[in-house]
Structures are given as C-alpha cells and as structure tokens.
Symmetry: C2
C-alpha cells in the first residue's frame, strides 16, 4: 500500500506501537513533544544530520532498513565526537506519497533497532510529504559532564594527532555499491562476479562500513572521562576536510604522515587494482565516522589503547602555522593537504 | 551568488558569526553538537516539525525571512502545547545548489530573529544539498517541571473544552496568498485590487497569521504552572483533526458548538463573500497554532482569563463515547464532526 492511501495519522499511530520506550523517556511518540530525563548537573547535547536521496543515498543501493540504521548512526557520531552519552532520537521523514508503507516501516524499524543497539530511544519525529527527493533528518539528544566536553578547538601546536579504526573502507564500499554490489535486506553482501577478482571477504566489511557505520560513542566517552584528548571531531566528510576544521577551530596547523595512516589496507589495495588512488580515497572519501583527536599525552593514549578494542593510530602532530596543513609522503616530501572532502554544494570533492 | 559556488563550509562559518548565543548555551554553532544548560530536576522536551516546499510553502508566496520565522514558530508551538519553556533550536536545511546564498541568509536571519523574540537560541543545524523540493526542518529543545507536563491524554468526560485566540485566520491568509496577495520582505501586506472589495484591514492580520504565526508559549506555561488544564494540544492541522487526536489520547468523545467557535469573524465573513464556508475553513483549515485544552474547573479558567491578554473561549465539552466527536449546529442539530484536517499524504482534507 502506498503512503498516500494509508495516511499520516494511521502511520503515526502504528509507529507508536512499534517503538519501545526506555527508562529515560517520560513521554515518547504520540504527544506534542517528547520528554526525557537528563542527569542533574549535566549539559544537554543536541545535534542533527540529514541523509538526502540523490545526495547521500540512492534507493537502489540502500535497503530501507539500513537507511534508518545509518541515519541514526551518523547523527549519533556527532555526540561521540563530543564525548557524550546519547539518549534520545527524533526521526523526521519527508517522503513522497508514492512511497510504499512497507518501505517506511523498514526505515523506522531500522532506526529503532539501531537506537536500541546504541542505548538510545526513538522518542518522536515527523512525517511530511515531499514530492521531491526523500529527506531523512535525525536529531540526537545526549548529555555530558559540564566543563569536560570534547571540543574541536582545544588543540595546540605539538599535540599528537590520533585517529580511531581504519580510514577508507566506507569509500571503497560506496565504490562497490556504485559498481553493482549490494547489501541484502538481512545484511549479507551481494557482489557481482565482475567484482570478485579480489577476495570477497573484503567486500562485505567495506559495504557495511558505508551502509551501517559504527559511531564511536564508547571511545568518545572514555576520551572525555579520562581527559585524554585536547580536541576531537568525527570523520564525516573526509579526514582532510575534518582535520582542516579541527585546525581552524584550534588556530593551529597540522602535519600528518602518509605512512602512518591506518588505511583499510587490503580493501584499498584491491580497489587500487581497479584504478583508484588509495590514499586519496582514504583522505577525502568521508563517511568513516571514526574519531580524529589530539592529545598532549601520547603515552596515556598508548596505555589506554592497550585496554581498548578499537585501533588508535598516531598519524601526525599539530603545528603552529594556522594556514599549513601538510601531508608527508612516503618519500619524505611534504605537500599541502588541501581541505578535500565532500562539499555537496560544490558538486565535487572540494 | 548561488550556494553551489559559495560552498557549505563557507556558509556555515558565516552563520556562526551571524547568530547570537544566550546564557543557556555553552556551545553553539560550529562544533559537532550544541551544549545547553537545562535546570536541574526538569524534564527535557524535544520536538521536530518540517516545512516542505510545495506541501507547506511556495517560494512565490513566502518571503525567505518569513519561512525562517514560521519554521521556528511552528516547532515552538509543540513546546507551548506541553506547557514548556523553549530554549534552543536546530535549523536543518535541505536545499538546491541553485539557491541564492542571499535567500539562505534571509531564512537563517528570520529563524534567528524569531528565536530571539521567543527567548530561544539558534544553537546549531545542518545544511544539505537536495535537488528536489526544499525542506526546512526545525528541532526545538525545551524543558518543563517533572510530573506537571500538559498531555493530550488527560481529559475526562465532562471537562470543558477551550481554545485560545481566533480560529480560521491562517486559512483565510493562505487563500489570500493563493489569490495573489503577498507579504513584503519587511512584513507589509500587498493585496491586489481585485481582493480589496472587503476592508484591507482584514487582509494583513490573516496573511500574518498564516506566514508568521504566534506560538502560545506563555499561555502554555501558565496553564501548566497553575494546573488549569487536564489536556492540551496545539491546533496545527485543523481544530477538527486535533480535537480527534486529543479525544483518542484521552479515550473520550467531544461535543463542540458552532455558535461558540471564536472564528476570525470579519475576515471569514469577507472570505465567505468570495464563496467559502467559514465554519469549514475554521475547523479544517489548520495552522492556527492556538492551544486547544480541556479543564475540570471552568471558573478557574474564567478567573485566569481576566488576567490574560489572549482570548480563551469555551467551545464545548468532553463526552464519554470514544467514537463520538460531534458538532452542534446553530439550529440545534447535532452532526458527527469528521477528523477533517490536512493529511498531506491523502492529498485532501481527510
């Protein structure tokens, strides 16, 4: 059945029954606003991010359940970058009346499922008709201890730069999807024979990194609670662009080393066989949702790393000159690192 | 200059300088998330609402400044209906790369201006490219005293039903705009000669009611603080539909009286001259953003009304039968009041 025949109110009534509450939620879906308990003395964190059809996703390559999951994860990643605890989510959908009600249910179920996995509750939202591209807008509310928030602007020259996890898998995943690979609704990778030259084991994690990213909420909370980082940002638009943003906020420059970058190596090697530049893909690909952070105490990070199940890699250091963000190549040559990343309005990697 | 040439990052940097902070805001625009202080012991309220091009607004009839103002007011109205204090706003825009940067500035300036007027701060947001219809998504964060929230579901049979202000002006305003009237960017009404048969003085308040509604934040707070209302909802999709929602949440029916309805009378009379049914327009027109509430203590409401500068009108009472929402006509006849209102997906007043 199409949404135009089903109606907004019928859908919202159904939604109310499909989404579980949590102990923090006094009022969930179904009233004029949601009501949530936040611990006394904590700062409330608030962020919104958007996935737009044609800009951030295509229906063809994105199963609706994963659209819901990804929209939640992408917004939660901003709370991770502040070192916060994520509590509640609003899901605002602007979709065509031609959309199947079943598709909408899968988006909502995916979002609700991802909320549960991340310790959050889906507390409300909105459903609006848009005869253009579908827009999925997710607000996340969280909280953090006052005065201990992880900011973008706290880095100083000499601080070491770290990044969590691997960089570039999501860009490879996007490329695979564009070439005809897919994720089934249940989450298994479907890879066309033409792409099977490399080992299939690399395809699924990359596709999953792109369609079902993992926000680093626990890592962000630990960095904040242990006071380990001087600045932090999540890698959403590409490491290059996000490093530029961190530098701008901190009033510093930065120098990173190609040989230190934790590239999703085998996958990138496989991709390179297909004619792409692995380092460029890693630095400007975006959508990694890893944390890029700086520290004055590298040994404390190294000690913490031993207790932590996420890779934390030192990739360079902050420098005094605000206008210099540099990449040291494997041969020792130094080149400016442009603020490459996805600027959707400029229709290119800017 | 078009947004595609200007770029997202350039715009967001500029935005950061254009929007004032407030005492409650620890971190505003420019980091991964905003951070806001909420009084200890209070519940956090969270709501989102959306204006979509072609569904909720047309560029032709909506000056960008008023699009920003209205998007903020519409979302704040949900906080009013909960009896809350509104604190912070996220503005999420999905727009075409062809949009003029100046248009976007006016939307943002309108939103920031309306936030200031309503005691809120614009604390963050998102800017995404959408090659379809523009989507303006506004999240409002507020707070309210625990256990004293105004809910939709608290009404019981016998409670009196009240509505604030006048009903129907926004519907008349929309009709005037569709007929060629306009609001200038500075807020003055421009009404074509063909529409000037009735007195011009009725045009401007109606157009303003549609393009620049007033959320009843102070009224909602008073109703909650004085414990005057048993249930409350804001009239966003038409009094009929919103009354049905309140009844459904409360498990009751309702009976309202045509002769008691506080129609925006002169304007409606004028509109009727042009061939519209005033009562239908008032009950299903929507976008009034008045508060519809119930009480067990009519005399307390009447005493409060004497101290209040907003009209509060008793329009009927709640009844026991869940499935009966009725309208008593001027001639004493009783007819079912259908859940008429705007269901955008059903492409008609449902």
């Amino acid at each position: 059945m199409k949404l135009a025949a089903f109606g907004e109110d019928a859908f919202l009534r159904e939604l109310q029954d499909r989404v579980p509450l949590s102990e923090h939620v006094s009022i969930g879906i179904g009233d004029d606003a949601a009501a949530i308990s936040v611990p006394d003395g904590e700062l409330v964190l608030l962020t919104v991010d958007t996935l737009v059809e044609g800009t951030h996703f295509l229906w063809k390559t994105t199963p609706p359940r994963f659209l819901g999951r990804k929209a939640v994860a992408v917004s939660a990643s901003d709370i991770a970058a502040m070192g916060g605890v994520a509590l509640g989510v609003l899901l605002s959908l602007s979709v065509s009346g031609d959309l199947e009600v079943e598709t909408l249910r899968q988006i909502v179920d995916g979002a609700a499922e991802r909320c549960s996995e991340l310790g959050m509750a889906l507390v409300g939202g909105n459903l609006a008709r848009s005869d253009g591209r579908a827009v999925v807008d997710v607000t996340v509310l969280g909280h953090t201890e006052s005065g201990k928030t992880l900011r973008r602007g706290g880095a100083r020259a000499g601080d070491a730069i770290f990044v969590s996890g691997k960089i570039g898998a999501s860009a490879v995943g996007l490329w695979l999807l564009q070439q005809g690979a897919a994720l089934s609704p249940s989450g298994g990778a479907i890879v066309p024979d033409a792409l099977r030259e490399g080992p299939l084991q690399f395809a699924e994690p990359c596709i999953r990194a792109h369609l079902d990213p993992e926000p680093r909420l626990a890592l962000g909370r630990e960095l904040r609670a242990r006071d380990l980082a001087t600045a932090c940002i999540d890698v959403s638009d590409g490491l290059s662009l996000d490093l530029h943003r961190l530098c701008r906020a901190s009033g510093t420059g930065a120098r990173i080393e190609e040989q230190a970058l934790p590239l999703a190596a085998k996958a990138l090697a496989w991709k390179r066989e297909h004619g792409r530049d692995a380092v460029q893909a890693a630095l400007s690909g975006g959508e990694d949702y890893e944390l890029l952070f700086t520290t004055r105490d590298t040994s404390a990070i190294e000690a913490f790393r031993d207790t932590c199940d996420i890779a934390l890699t030192r990739i360079g250091e902050m420098t005094p000159d605000e206008n210099a963000v540099e990449l040291v190549r494997r041969d020792g040559s130094v080149e400016p690192l442009s603020a490459r990343g996805w600027d959707h309005f400029q229709e290119r990697r800017s």
